[in-house]
């Protein structure tokens, strides 16, 4: 089966048979959007919660939660999905370094909150998640069925 890797800031999608994978989610949040009727899946690997106001043109919309969610939806629709049928599954948003937490909490938590807020804005339900905590994750999204598995070092893989 075809497997496509989604690196930091990237967005990839496919229709039918295949796997979308992100390796090494730390504070980043992996987002899978799926339309089961169309068998269309898209995945993003979101790095930071908010694009900077000064950057008129965002080079990689998938890098920031506020620009990634609309870009993911657009890509899913382009591949034949219907927006109203999309659901989301999330993984990541961890805080690996305890010394990193700033006044607004850690970046992992900010990423989770931003992703949830932007999904809500587009009425996309979150049907599964494995987020926060203090460990890295690998996320695999099977586009034929919508199954999403999450693995972490020293833990059994889980389905979300």
């Amino acid at each position: 089966m075809r497997e496509v890797f989604v690196n930091m800031g990237q967005i990839h999608g496919m229709a039918g048979d295949g796997i979308l994978t992100t390796v090494g989610l730390g504070s980043c949040v992996g987002v899978a959007l799926y339309d089961s009727s169309a068998q269309v899946g898209v995945m993003g690997h979101i790095f930071l919660p908010q694009s900077r106001p000064h950057s008129a043109k965002v080079e990689l919309p998938g890098k920031f939660a506020d620009t990634a969610i609309p870009a993911l939806i657009e890509e899913a629709v382009r591949l034949g999905a219907q927006k109203r049928r999309l659901w989301a599954k999330l993984a990541g948003g961890a805080n690996l370094f305890a010394n990193l937490a700033g006044p607004n909490g850690n970046i992992g938590m900010q990423n989770i909150q931003a992703v949830l807020a932007h999904l809500k804005l587009h009425d996309i339900p979150v049907v599964g998640q494995d987020v926060a905590g203090h460990h890295g994750r690998k996320m695999r999204f099977y586009v034929d069925t919508g199954r999403v598995t999450v693995t972490a070092i020293g833990k059994d893989p889980i389905d979300i």
Partner: protein
């Protein structure tokens, strides 16, 4: 970026890492053998994954925030097998069982802390600028997750400047990376203090 700037950054890296490795060598009772010339890389954000490589290999990473006259971030990252070699060299005598128990974790965290602090002290002495390290944080996890958390913590923009040095110890290649990630303006501050024209 001009080649002069790269030379300047490489020189900073050489000075900092020189001191960091002396500190490490002291901790290892002179077992440190070799140190590579620092590698200065200016990478586009999209090139980072390829640069990091082996995203799901396990690494140990120590991360510190710098504050004071110059702000930035530093990290010490090495494959977990290399970290295990260093832990054994540091606290291995007569120990059995899990390498990264509380003592092993604390040893690698302190080792990273001392290397980073020595690096910063060298740059501070050279420039007279205060560069104060935060308390260190340690993560032993997937390389992608560790690097990504460090880069996000440093809020890197579209371009990332990395000063990276590798070294080896006890005849074992330790692919240890010491990385300095200052904001773009912070390099200029150091250059100005050293009497170098705007780069």
């Amino acid at each position: 970026m001009t080649s002069r700037k790269v030379d300047f950054l490489r020189e900073l890296g050489t000075i900092g890492v020189g001191h960091a490795t002396i500190a490490l060598s002291d901790m290892l009772q002179g077992k440190l053998l070799r140190l590579e010339v620092p590698d200065v890389r200016i990478l586009r954000f999209g090139e980072l994954a390829e640069f990091i490589g082996g995203l799901d290999q396990t690494v140990a990473g120590v991360f510190i925030q710098i504050s004071g006259d110059v702000s930035g971030y530093m990290a010490f990252i090495l494959p977990v097998e290399c970290a295990a070699v260093l832990v054994k060299l540091l606290v291995g005598n007569g120990r059995s069982g899990e390498v990264f128990d509380a003592l092993g974790r604390s040893a690698i965290e302190e080792l990273g802390n001392i290397m980073i602090t020595s690096y910063l002290n060298a740059l501070s002495a050279l420039t007279g600028l205060v560069m104060k390290p935060s308390i260190p944080g340690l993560a032993i996890d997937m390389a992608g997750a560790v690097w990504q958390s460090i880069l996000a913590g440093a809020l890197v923009d579209d371009e990332v400047t990395l000063i990276r040095t590798e070294f080896s110890a006890e005849g074992v290649a330790i692919d240890g990376n010491i990385i300095l990630l200052p904001a773009e303006d912070e390099f200029k501050k150091i250059a100005r203090v050293l009497g170098l024209e705007e780069m």
